[in-house]
């Protein structure tokens, strides 16, 4: 029987087989409850150790994770059909509790506990912050080296060029200091009564030489910076693209294409502008500031201290303003991505937009997003200019102090006129760049926001490394061993699937939508990996196989074939770029595509248009079949390959498929069961499980799930019709 004992405290835990902490209390508030499982009992305790309820496992009929919105609850049902809600938890813990429910059922059956309760780290052990990904790295601890340093790491391949740039920068800074010194010397010499033109011409001669040197260095620095910045940006762009390519598919399930694309283009561009324009000036002028400060100190330390005093204030304003300004620019870049996303979406779906005459409402949505972007940009820039105004004011203070203090010293004869003039010129050099530092901040903010977004992608969970692992040529036998998997971990779509398929067999996957067919082939393709159980290819766990070699041996023909912009021939040889035209034509013939390709004026050189827009659905499908044939995979996947074409085209595609499946392990999903007539075996799936398997005849005779499916879908007529024809 169920019992809820509020008062007793639990004894020292003995024989605890599993324990989880729920993150919600029984009244739905944030708090913790401990769910402890022994062989005999499920016990719930609060953090003080007081027992809130117990449930004897001997009385258990079933246990389940009841999915709720933003969380779930663990429900135990007794043999007398009474339900007990044991714990509430958020989605963060839902998968773990789903697993625990399975374990409790195992114990109730008298089995050993065989569940995978990972101790998942959700907080950083060092700083206590929540982790973006369970068991993942803490970005603020790992990336403490700051975004800048991380960008700096991209300089490594160009070390010698970077050193050369630093030398140029040092030299040009030192040269810039020379002219005011010369001018001051001339003025002081004049004041001392020197009227010798030779002296003046000599000094101007040196000045001219310095100017030529400065100009030369400016050219060299500019050219080198451009080269270096462009190379860094290009590296960053390609690395971001590479990272995106290897992101797991669930990332693409969640993110719109436009938002991903803007990270490769816009964000890297922002970093590039900063690297080419902002960073070099920041470095050169930073160095100049130090050098000028040293020179002024050598002339008059007291004056130097006074006129350089406002610098910390300028730095403080700059630092204070940086974070909110950076956030505002980050926000503006997000709005820009939204505009891009909408643009991508409405252009790709332009036919649907026109067909429903939705131009006005799409325009309205675009206009709104564009206005959001405008407002975000206005707010960011206005905030920036406000901060900049304060900066200019504080920067002018230096000059005023110089004229006040330095001027007094000059009047009292404590400072030479030449020195006063020189310091005035140097002041422009110190405060000029300081003012400019602030405007670099503008770029810096934008660039760092861009870089953060780029690094966010690079830090995301990647597919298991392509390189490494067994690179054998596979035969093509496939076994599922108690495989469980869910896109949302707490809600398994594949729930304990086991089957063995011999190499060369053709398997039809049958079941209602949502039964788990597409997920099964996604798993075979290793787009996702099972949460539990194993998938064996030729008897080897497929995680041990080299991913690239494995995927190279898989061919996929999708319901909506995807063709890349390019020619028909290029698309057919996408998986096998070295194939000759003869081989391409051979594959096209087997795919029933040769004739229609020849009827096009450019034959195999016909441009298919973006996403194959210039071809019909059936034509695209046959090209994708030819592509699969030429790729010569060991395992072939046909996902509703004939569902969107007319009967005649379907016949042609069917013939093509027959050519394609010969000698390959094939998994086919088809809404029209007729397509699966040629399958050696059908696996009937229902709610994430294989419920029946056998040949079409066997399954029809056993009058089980498949039989019902055929009946309810009225597919019998189709089978008879096509079978007779």
């Amino acid at each position: 029987m169920l019992s809820a004992d509020q008062n007793s405290t639990v004894r020292e835990p003995e024989g605890v087989l599993a324990e989880l902490t729920a993150d919600l209390t029984e009244d739905g508030r944030y708090g913790e409850r401990i769910v402890r499982v022994t062989r005999e009992l499920v016990t719930v305790l609060d953090l003080s150790g007081a027992v809130l309820l117990t449930f004897p496992i001997s009385d258990l009929e079933s246990a389940k994770n009841d999915s709720l919105v933003s969380g779930g609850r663990l429900i135990l049902r007794s043999k007398s059909h009474e339900d007990l809600i044991v714990a509430y938890y958020s989605l963060t813990m839902a998968q773990q509790f789903g697993e625990l429910a399975r374990g409790i059922e195992q114990l109730a059956k008298g089995d050993e506990l065989s569940i995978n309760l990972l101790v998942e780290k959700i907080r950083c052990e060092k700083c206590g912050k929540l982790l973006p990904e369970k068991n993942g790295v803490c970005p603020s601890c790992i990336n403490r080296g700051k975004t800048m340093l991380r960008l700096g790491a991209f300089l490594k391949p160009y070390k010698s060029k970077a050193i050369l740039l630093a030398i140029y920068a040092t030299c040009s800074t030192l040269l810039v200091l020379v002219p005011p010194k010369l001018q001051g010397t001339i003025l002081d010499s004049f004041n001392a009564g020197n009227r010798d033109p030779q002296f003046l011409f000599g000094m101007i001669g040196i000045w001219g030489g310095v100017l030529v040197g400065m100009a030369t260095l400016q050219v060299l620095t500019g050219r080198l910076t451009t080269w270096l910045g462009a190379h860094l940006a290009s590296d960053l762009r390609t690395k971001t693209y590479r990272s995106i390519e290897f992101l797991t598919l669930d990332y693409f399930d969640k993110k719109p294409v436009g938002a991903i694309a803007s990270r490769v283009t816009q964000d890297t561009d922002r970093v590039w502008f900063f690297l080419v324009d902002g960073l070099p000036f920041l470095v050169i002028n930073g160095f100049m500031l130090l050098a000028v400060a040293a020179v002024i100190f050598s002339i008059n330390p007291l004056l130097a201290v006074l006129i350089l005093a406002p610098i910390p204030m300028v730095a403080l304003i700059s630092m204070k303003a940086w974070k909110p300004i950076s956030n505002l620019f980050f926000r503006a870049s997000q709005k820009m991505a939204r505009v891009h996303m909408h643009l991508n979406e409405s252009l790709m779906g332009i036919r649907v937009v026109k067909a429903f005459a939705k131009e006005d409402s799409e325009f309205e949505r675009f206009r709104l997003r564009s206005e959001e972007l405008r407002n975000a940009n206005v707010k960011a820039d206005q905030t920036w200019h406000t901060a900049f105004g304060f900066m200019t004011l504080s920067v002018s203070l230096g000059t005023v102090i110089h004229w006040l203090v330095g001027g007094t010293m000059l009047f009292r004869g404590e400072l030479k006129f030449g020195e006063f003039y020189m310091i005035n010129a140097y002041l422009g050099m110190v405060y000029g760049p300081l003012q400019w530092f602030a405007s670099v901040n503008n770029w810096f903010s934008r660039a760092m926001a861009g870089a953060e977004r780029i690094f966010e992608i690079m830090d995301m969970k990647q597919e298991p490394a392509f390189a490494g692992g067994d690179t054998r040529k596979i035969e093509g036998s496939v076994s599922f061993n108690d495989v469980r998997f869910g896109y949302d971990k707490s809600n398994p779509v594949i729930n304990g699937v086991s089957f063995d398929v011999k190499a060369g067999e053709m398997i039809g996957l049958v079941g209602q939508s949502g039964a788990g067919k597409s997920t099964t082939i996604n798993l075979i393709s290793r787009f996702y990996e099972p949460d539990q159980g194993e998938i064996l290819i030729d008897g080897i766990d497929f995680r041990k196989l080299d991913l690239r070699t494995y995927r190279n041996q898989i061919g996929i023909v999708l319901q909506e074939p995807f063709l890349f912009a390019g020619t028909v021939a290029e698309n057919i040889k996408y998986g096998n770029p070295d194939a000759s035209l003869e081989e391409v034509m051979e594959a096209a013939k087997a795919a029933n595509a040769h004739d229609f390709i020849l009827s096009k004026s450019d034959g195999y050189d016909t441009i298919v248009g973006e996403r194959g827009a210039k071809l019909s659905g059936g034509e695209k499908q046959r090209i994708s079949i030819a592509r699969a044939i030429l790729h010569d995979p060991r395992i072939l996947i046909l996902d509703e390959a004939t569902s969107s074409v007319d009967v005649e085209t379907e016949r042609k595609i069917q013939e093509a498929i027959l050519n394609l499946v010969k000698g390959r392990t094939t998994f086919a999903i088809a809404h029209r069961l007729s397509t699966l007539r040629n399958a050696d075996r059908l696996l009937v799936m229902d709610r994430g499980k294989v419920v029946e398997q056998g040949t079409h005849e066997e399954l029809m005779e056993s009058k089980g799930k498949f039989y019902t499916l055929v009946q309810t879908q009225s597919a019998v007529n189709e089978i008879i019709g096509i079978g007779a024809g």
């Binding site: 989605l91 973006p132 603020s140 969640k254 909110p324 949302d488």
Partner: protein, 155 residues
């Protein structure tokens, strides 16, 4: 809506009696919780089939039934309704929130606010954390000044 009664029996399992019919397991679901947060409440049987739907539950249901339904909805929709933002910090593309909600104080982490902060109306914001948990700010203008300020810089 008359002769309706809903109650827990046993605790945790919601039952419904309606005129001469009785349902031993009943689930409540908002038909369109984001667009119409207080309208269109469906009562469903144990097999997930709709028994009936009320457009304005607060007005149409008897008071005691609505009170009971609210308890069940609070158990079924575990979204936190944010009353106050204590701290809010963005670092390396992750945003760390510490908030006071109708379910107590908690912290959570969001990424890519562009997709995970959705404005359902100009003042109604829904946040989705990295695990898919939802948090709502039903009216940003009702937040205190400091919370609004934190929000305006980040979202």
């Amino acid at each position: 809506m008359k002769n309706i009664e809903i109650f827990y029996k046993p605790e945790g399992r919601l039952r419904l009696t309606m005129e001469d019919r009785s349902y031993t397991e009943v689930k409540l679901a908002w038909a369109s919780p984001l667009s119409y947060p207080d309208k269109y409440l469906a009562f469903m049987d144990g097999k997930g089939r709709e028994i009936f739907m009320v457009t304005h539950p607060e007005k149409e249901l008897p008071k005691d039934v609505w009170e009971m339904a609210k308890i069940e909805l609070h158990r079924r929709y575990l979204n936190g309704v944010i009353h106050k933002i204590v701290t809010l910090k963005t670092e390396f593309g992750s945003t760390y929130w510490r908030v006071v909600t109708d379910r107590g104080e908690t912290d959570f982490l969001t990424q890519s606010l562009q997709e995970n902060a959705q404005w359902l109306t100009p003042t109604y914001l829904m946040l989705v954390d990295v695990d898919g948990n939802r948090y709502e700010i039903t009216d940003i203008n009702a937040l205190d000044e400091r919370s609004q300020e934190l929000l305006s810089v980040t979202v």
